[in-house]
C-alpha cells in the first residue's frame, strides 16, 4: 500500500532519462568504442561502466544526504558540503594519510567518518543556539564553520606536504574512476536504501521533536541513524570522487517545491534527480572541450550556484 502513492509517471520518466544519460555517458570519451575495436569491451568494463556507476551512486547519495541533513537541522539551505562535514572528513583523511598511511582502507574510512561525525555534531550544537526565526543564519554560520575547518585542513595538508590530496578532493570529478577504485561508493548506495526504509521516521522528525515524541517515535535513535548516514556517505564521496557542490541543496529544494517533504513519496524522486543532474554535468564537462575534460564538480558548481540563487531569492514563506 505504502509504495502505491508515489507519483509513478514522474518517477518512470526520470528513470528513462537516467537510462538514456547512462547510455550517453558510457559511449562518449576519448577511447574508441566502435564495434570493430577489439579493446572496446575492456574499456567498457574497466573504465566506462565503473565511471557511470560511480556518477549515479554519487548523485543519489549526495542528493539524499542533503535531504536528511535538511530534515535533521529543519532548515532547507544546508547540506554536508556547506556545513563543515566534508571539511571535517578531509581533516580525518589527511591525518591518516600523513601519520597512519599503513592502515587498511576500511580503517581509514572509519576514521574519516568519525571526524565527519564530530564535525557534524559541532555544527548541530551551533545550529541549535541560533534563533529559529532567522532561517538564513544557519547556512551562513555553516559556511563560516566550514571555512574554518577548511583552513585547518589546508594547514594540516601543508604541514604534512599533502596539498595535492586536498586539490583532488576539492574538485569532484570522475576521470580517474576505474574498476577497483570506486567500489566504496556502493556502501553509500546501500545507505541510501537504509534511508528509504526509515523514510516515514525521517518525515516525522522533520515535523519537530514535539510531534515525534507524541507519536512515540524514538527521536534520538532516528536522528542518530540520519547523522551516521550523512557522515559516512559524505566521507565516502569525498575520498572517492571529491566534493560535488550544490547537488545536495538544489535537488532536494526543487523536489520539495514540487511535491513536498513526505519522504516516502519524494525520496525516490530526489535520488533519481540527483543522478540525472550529475550525469548531465559530467557529460557536459566531457563534451564541452572534447577530448579534454572539465570536472563534473566544476560544471555543477557553476550551474548549481545559479539555480540555488534563484531558489533562494524566489523562495516563499517557508524557509
Amino acid at each position: 500500500m505504502r509504495f502505491m502513492r508515489a507519483p509513478k509517471p514522474v518517477f518512470a520518466i526520470l528513470i528513462v532519462i537516467m537510462l538514456i544519460l547512462s547510455g550517453v555517458s558510457i559511449f562518449i570519451g576519448a577511447g574508441d568504442m566502435s564495434w570493430d575495436n577489439p579493446n572496446a569491451l575492456q574499456i567498457l568494463m574497466i573504465s566506462r561502466l565503473p565511471r557511470t556507476a560511480a556518477i549515479i551512486l554519487t548523485g543519489v547519495s549526495t542528493a539524499i544526504t542533503g535531504v536528511i541533513m535538511q530534515l535533521l537541522v529543519r532548515n532547507k539551505f544546508v547540506e554536508p558540503g556547506t556545513t563543515g562535514t566534508t571539511e571535517a572528513a578531509m581533516i580525518g583523511l589527511l591525518i591518516v594519510a600523513a601519520w597512519m598511511p599503513g592502515w587498511p582502507v576500511f580503517a581509514k574510512m572509519t576514521f574519516a567518518a568519525l571526524c565527519a561525525l564530530i564535525g557534524l555534531g559541532i555544527f548541530f550544537a551551533l545550529a541549535r543556539r541560533l534563533p529559529a526565526e532567522q532561517p538564513l543564519l544557519i547556512p551562513l554560520v555553516g559556511l563560516i564553520y566550514g571555512g574554518i575547518l577548511g583552513a585547518v585542513a589546508t594547514f594540516v595538508a601543508y604541514q604534512a606536504d599533502l596539498m595535492q590530496y586536498l586539490g583532488i578532493w576539492l574538485t569532484g570529478e570522475f576521470s580517474g574512476i576505474l574498476a577497483g577504485r570506486y567500489e566504496l561508493l556502493w556502501i553509500a548506495g546501500a545507505l541510501a536504501l537504509v534511508t528509504y526504509a526509515v523514510a516515514d521516521q525521517f518525515t516525522i522528525v522533520g515535523l519537530g521533536k514535539e510531534t515525534s515524541l507524541s507519536l512515540g517515535l524514538k527521536y534520538g535513535q532516528v536522528t542518530a541513524i540520519g547523522v551516521g548516514a550523512v557522515a559516512i556517505s559524505s566521507s565516502l564521496v569525498v575520498v572517492t570522487v571529491g566534493v560535488i557542490p550544490f547537488i545536495g541543496l538544489v535537488v532536494p529544494n526543487i523536489v520539495s517545491r514540487a511535491m513536498g517533504d513526505n519522504l516516502r513519496e519524494s525520496l525516490p524522486i530526489v535520488a533519481c534527480l540527483g543522478a540525472v543532474a550529475l550525469l548531465s554535468a559530467d557529460i557536459l564537462g566531457r563534451v564541452l572541450r572534447y577530448p579534454y575534460e572539465i570536472p563534473a564538480g566544476t560544471v555543477f558548481g557553476v550551474i548549481g550556484a545559479v539555480v540555488f540563487l534563484w531558489l533562494l531569492l524566489g523562495r516563499r514563506s517557508h524557509a
Partner: protein, 256 residues
C-alpha cells in the same frame, strides 16, 4: 485518571513548577488555566512526557507513567503542542495520516485510511487535504494538528492553547467537538486555555496554576467563582450565571 503527585520542575535553573499535585478525571474535559508564566504548558509537557520528569510521580490509571514505553504511550495519549516554525512541506492529508503511525508503524491498513478520512471530515479539512501545510492559514494548520491527534485514537487528548489562531466560528466548533469527544467517545481531555468563557462553559474540571503552584482545582461548579478567578489573575473578574451558561466579564474595568 491521570494523577500527578509532588511535581517539581526546573527550566534553565529556574523553578517553573513547585509541589503540584493534581488529578485529571477520565472521560472529562479539564481546563488548565492561569496567568502567563504560571507553568501551564510545562505541566502539560511533563504529563505528555515531552519533558523528562524531574521530581514527583506521574500515574496513568494507577500505572507509573515513567515505566510505559513511548510507543505504548502514543497509543494512549496524544498531544497537540503549540506549533511554531514547521519547516516541512507536508500535505494536510499526510499530516493527519501520520496520526495513525503509532498503530501501523509505516504500513497503513484499511482502517487507518478510514480513520484519516473521518478525521479530515470531522475537523472540516476535506477540501484542504491536498494542500501543503505552509500554504494554509494558521487556523487551518491548527485544525490539521488537532485532527492528527484525533486520528491517533487515544483515550487521552492533551492540547496546548488550541484556540490560538482560530476565529470565533472554529474556536467554538473545536470546543463543541472536544466536549463531544469526552462525552460520546469517553476521552479524557486536558486543555491549556486562556479564554475563561470557553473554559468555564465547556470544561468539567478546572486546574488553576499561579507562579508554578496549584491555586485551586475542582469541578467547574465548585471553584469557578468571581473570588477565585480574581485572585488568580490579580484582575477583577466577574462570573455571572445566565440562562445559557456562565458569563465571565473581565475586559471592562470599573468606571472610575
Amino acid at each position: 485518571m491521570i494523577t500527578v503527585q509532588g511535581l517539581y520542575h526546573q527550566l534553565g535553573g529556574n523553578p517553573v513548577l513547585r509541589d503540584v499535585s493534581i488529578s485529571l478525571p477520565s472521560n472529562k474535559m479539564t481546563a488548565i488555566i492561569g496567568p502567563n508564566g504560571a507553568g501551564k504548558s510545562t505541566l502539560l509537557d511533563v504529563i505528555a512526557r515531552q519533558s523528562k520528569l524531574q521530581q514527583g510521580q506521574l500515574y496513568l490509571d494507577d500505572q507509573d507513567m515513567t515505566q510505559i514505553k513511548p510507543q505504548d504511550l502514543a497509543l494512549r495519549m496524544a498531544l497537540v503542542s503549540q506549533q511554531n516554525g514547521i519547516a516541512s512541506r507536508i500535505r494536510i492529508r499526510d499530516l493527519v495520516g501520520f496520526g495513525r503511525w503509532p498503530h501501523h508503524q509505516g504500513r497503513p491498513q484499511a482502517q487507518d485510511l478510514d480513520k484519516t478520512a473521518e478525521a479530515l471530515d470531522r475537523f472540516d479539512l476535506n477540501g484542504l487535504g491536498g494542500r501543503f501545510l505552509d500554504e494554509v492559514s494558521g487556523g487551518q494548520r491548527q485544525r490539521a494538528f488537532v485532527a492528527m491527534a484525533y486520528c491517533q485514537d487515544t483515550d487521552w487528548l492533551l492540547l496546548d492553547e488550541p484556540l490560538n489562531n482560530l476565529d470565533l466560528r472554529y474556536a467554538t466548533a473545536l470546543m463543541v467537538q472536544l466536549r463531544a469527544l469526552s462525552q460520546v467517545q469517553s476521552k479524557g481531555i486536558a486543555i491549556v486555555i486562556h479564554d475563561l468563557n470557553y473554559a468555564l462553559n465547556y470544561a468539567d474540571h478546572i486546574v488553576a496554576l499561579k507562579e508554578g503552584q496549584l491555586a485551586f482545582e475542582g469541578a467547574v461548579s465548585d471553584v469557578a467563582n468571581s473570588e477565585n478567578l480574581t485572585g488568580l489573575y490579580d484582575t477583577p473578574v466577574e462570573v455571572t450565571k445566565t440562562e445559557k451558561g456562565l458569563f465571565v466579564q473581565h475586559h471592562l474595568m470599573a468606571a472610575s
